[in-house]
Amino acid sequence: MEKTDYKNVYVFVEQRNGEIQSVGLELLGKARDLASVLNEKVIAILAGDQVKKHAQYLIEMGADEVICMDAPELKDYLTEQYSQAIYQMVQKFQPSILMFGATTIGRDLAPRLAARLGTGLTADCTKLEISEEGELMMTRPAFGGNLMATIMCTEHRPQMSTVRPGVMQKMTRDANRKGTVIDFAPNFDSSKFKVKLLKEVKEDKNAVDIQAAKILVSGGRGVGCAEGFKKLQALADVLGGQVSSSRAMVDAGVMPHDRQVGQTGKTVRPNVYFACGISGAIQHLAGMEESDYIIAINKDKYAPIFQVADLGLVGDLNKVIPLLTEKLAKEIQK
């Protein structure tokens, strides 16, 4: 392998049922940063059936080129179909960096491809940077978020990573951006297609997208029960936000898993994060510490949440929250 033959920052942009997934756009945003340091291009990989219509959108969201693979075989995500397509694309285009969202698709596809390509892969990264030598530095949490590790893949190409959704920031859409669209038709070996999709069932569990909320009112053990969460909901309603939860209240069955913030839940970065009765275990902090402004309300003045909060109030949330809701409602009406 000649390292210098491998160039540019490639992003696999996930689509589901023909809809571009947010994480792909986040990766395009990050890829722009990396590509500008390297003085290289950002190239989006768009795979599906009749998805070419999205190519211009990806250019407006940061891609310089879009490699478009339109084929009936790629309509729904299936491991082998997608592995064949992207493997062939990698062989032809030789990416230096290849990124995927750390989703159920990206985390199924990327390791399969990494093994086929015989290269390294770093899972679920939360930070990507370029070293002085122009190598990719991939940082990720390990040991349940207790430890961060920076990983490199200096002797193999492409340098592959999956990136946690909700961590990187999208570019603002720029309708004036120009780019090129390249059609690429993989040759499929259908004798290897051994898995068939029988049906896909949507469940309501992701009806609320806490990652998209600008304001989150989050509750922990200190909130105690479903009744307590109603008070948080009232505050969220006044502010146009959503209610989220720590793991404790999800495990207790009070809140659904799709509302869980943290290492085993979702990573969020709202403009304001209210941490109500949340002590601030490291696994929880891992999911919310990038929030712009953190307001913590907790009875225990030694709770670790106060170490990351921008504004901490030591007090009883059962008193503070309803009063805050009432006063805010008046303020907003003014």
Binding site: R107, P111, A115, T119, N146, E203, K327, I332
Partner: protein
């Protein structure tokens, strides 16, 4: 049916704490357990065995003390246990680990390989799919249920972000399973008694079918450059005041930040 379940011994990461003075992990006294997703995979295999009859082999790669989880698997109902242990495996990243395990699998008869989705110490979810590629097997990850038609086919439920998929796959194949797929059985008393009479087979790198250059640190394309505990951002202001005053402070800050 012959089923091989890949399991890993991990520190119980929910018990790990950081030493605030040194910023390092405190591992002393942290118990070692069978990785939860792997236990879900083992339970899935044992249920197939209960229902259809199967020979269940468990395999782990690790230091000699990893034998403990193989004994536990015996006590739950596994029939055969293999410990892959050799200094040649040390320092392996996921690719080198998958090469070692695939090399061992090439020496075992199987219809179905089951692994956990991911281990709680590394959280990569990469070893299963990488093994499947080395063995040229179809894979399904994030599995929470499996039904067997009694012949060659499995119907598999895979969790996704938006719901689930039902997939069909012909054996041989590889599945990676979530801990939430089932509630793993406890070890039985008789099982515990027997577990210590059964033989754990010890396999070294010489015993398996693999190119030695693909093992251990030298077979690992990735390198950990540094590891560190997260620098916490500095604490902001904290006030210990009555509710009325607290609310006034919050509202003035929200105004200052142009939130309201």
């Amino acid at each position: 049916m012959k089923i091989v379940v890949c399991i890993k011994q991990v520190p119980d990461t929910t018990e790990i704490k950081i030493n605030p003075a040194t910023g390092t992990l405190i591992r002393d006294g942290v118990p070692s357990i069978m990785n939860p997703d792997d236990k879900g995979g083992l339970e899935m295999a044992l249920r197939l065995k209960d229902q259809y009859g199967a020979e269940v082999t468990v395999i782990t790669m690790g230091p000699p003390q990893a034998e403990a989880i193989l004994r536990e698997a015996f006590a739950m109902g596994a029939d055969r246990a293999i410990l892959l242990t050799d200094r040649a495996f040390a320092g392996a990243d996921t690719l080198a680990t998958s090469n070692a395990l695939a090399g061992a699998l090439k020496c075992i008869d199987y219809d179905l390989i089951i692994g956990g989705r991911q281990a709680i110490d590394g959280d990569t979810a990469q070893v299963g799919p990488e093994m499947a590629e080395h063995l040229q097997l179809p894979q399904i990850s994030y599995v929470t249920n499996v039904e067997y038609d009694g012949k060659k086919n499995l119907t598999v439920k895979k969790e996704t972000e938006n719901g689930y998929q039902m997939l069909s796959v012909e054996m041989p194949c590889l599945l990676t399973v979530l801990a939430t797929a089932n509630k793993a059985r406890y070890m039985s008393v008789a099982g515990i008694m027997e577990a210590f009479d059964k033989e754990v087979e010890i396999w070294t790198a010489d015993k398996i079918d693999v190119d030695r250059a693909k093992l251990g640190l030298s077979g690992s394309p990735t390198r950990v450059k540094k590891s560190f505990t997260k620098a916490q951002k500095g604490a902001g202001e904290t006030f210990e005041v009555d509710a009325e005053e607290a609310v006034n402070i919050i509202i003035s800050k929200l105004k200052e930040k142009h939130i309201i």
